[in-house]
Symmetry: C2
DNA sequence: ACCTCAGTCAAACATCTGTTTTATACAACT
DNA sequence: AGTTGTATAAAACAGATGTTTGACTGAGGT
């Protein structure tokens, strides 16, 4: 009976006793919301450090100095809390895409790509965004039910923009396979610089990076990627010129 | 009391009742070892799919059609099984490094890099190696106590070889920061092609890749990377020529 | 025939974890 | 004063999980 009741609540969240402090976006009554915010902050860091399943609500509540029941009260369940953390990450990801896109408005295709990369890498490696990016990276390898929102709102807009941009540079359709591969090559490079235990064990990453170091990395990825994309465009162009297949090797 | 006894066993594994079927590398008595192998195979797949903590010994034993106690009997504990799975992954990683390194012996530095990338990507994306590479990638973001062996035996040899190679191409010391960044750029690209739920949700990766597709990807990464490394070398060379900072974009 | 020991199995154990329950405190409103 | 609704707290619950225990089997050696 209890199990059934719980399952019903899960299926229809609106049935929950409180559904958090008042529904919708009411002012939540008074000075409270403190606990809620502390939970969100603690959860963001812990989820980023260890992933959804390896963090217990007791960990979160201990860090946030709240009672164990606080998560269920304010967010329905653990997943509800995670979704809210992830949504804020998605929002910041969208903001980064928009900023990096705007930075190149009115420029040539190559210059738009260069500026996109520079802005993007700076935000990506900014210490203040470290948690959300580790969070997003985790969804790639260990998806939770929140992955759908991430893909639709966070990943797709960026992929669409970069695909059109790369297609213009290469001179082909955005659905051409080369576009996707260049997209992968460009975006993958940044991920290598997220803090991770193996890189640290090898002596790379001297912990909080200086703005200078971040800029050096951004310049590296921009130079490397521009040259890579040009080479891909040139290789296929010269291949087309001699009619045959790929113009690989020497 | 029981808790203490268990902790003692954990601290000194040699106290365990069996320590697996006979110690060392004795022939394990008779036809058995079947169960052990089934456990290893099941564990490799499950650990690769879901990570160390998200797989239960019950999952593994169910998959391997063995009893729940089988893991503790044959491998001491869950971590012992994981270590053995990881060791076989490390061994294959070493073999890939050696093969990719040998493929370029006696060639120019650039050609050695090109061949290294081609061999490496082929092995990396070979369907038969998919599990071990997802396993290794997991250690990057969610290290277990097995990460030390991975770094020492698997990662370091590859990093050392590629560092020397890239330093030769760029024309600088292997400890130069540009070497590390090019190394990151080259290796990071392959990781983007491991099967992951987000790429699949976006419609990329048409499941088991054909040898043709893998070769296309390998060629792409080789062309892209060679051009990228050359550009980094050229940028710093021309920068040195005019004494100032970076010679970016234009 | 007897013993030994690796291997397997079912059951039990102790712990951890997400969630629920019950109770209490406090503020706002009637 | 009384009611209502929000927030928090302590305890309890139910299920899962890594590990251990004790019994049983069968082959090999004496």
């Amino acid at each position: 009976m209890k199990a059934i009741a719980r399952r019903d609540v899960g299926a229809d969240p609106r049935v929950r006793p409180h559904e958090g402090p008042t529904r919708g976006s009411a002012p939540t009554s008074r000075t409270d919301r403190e606990t809620r915010d502390r939970l969100l902050r603690a959860a963001e860091r812990l989820f980023a450090d260890r992933g959804f399943k390896d963090v217990t609500v007791r960990d979160i509540c201990r860090t946030a100095k709240a009672n164990v029941a606080a998560v269920n009260y304010h967010f329905g369940d653990k997943l509800g809390l995670y979704r809210e953390v992830m949504q804020s990450a998605i929002d910041r990801m969208q903001a980064t895409t928009d900023a990096a896109r705007r930075a190149g408005e009115g420029r040539s295709a190559e210059e738009r790509l260069r500026r996109f990369i520079l802005i993007f890498v700076h935000r990506f490696l900014d210490a203040g965004n470290d948690a959300i990016h580790r969070l997003i990276t985790r969804e790639v390898h260990d998806p939770t039910p929140a992955v759908d929102a991430l893909v639709e709102q966070g990943v797709k807009p960026r992929v669409d923009y970069l695909s059109r941009l790369l297609a213009e540079i290469i001179g082909c359709s955005p659905s051409d396979q080369r576009v996707l591969r260049c997209l992968a090559s460009v975006q993958a490079q940044s991920v290598a610089y997220l803090h991770n235990p193996i890189a640290e064990r090898l002596g790379f990453t001297i912990e909080p990076r200086t703005p200078r170091q971040i800029d050096d990395i951004a310049q590296h990825i921009a130079v490397f990627s521009l040259a890579g994309v040009r080479a891909i465009a040139a290789a296929t162009a010269s291949a087309r010129r001699r009619s045959g297949k790929a113009a690989r090797g020497r």
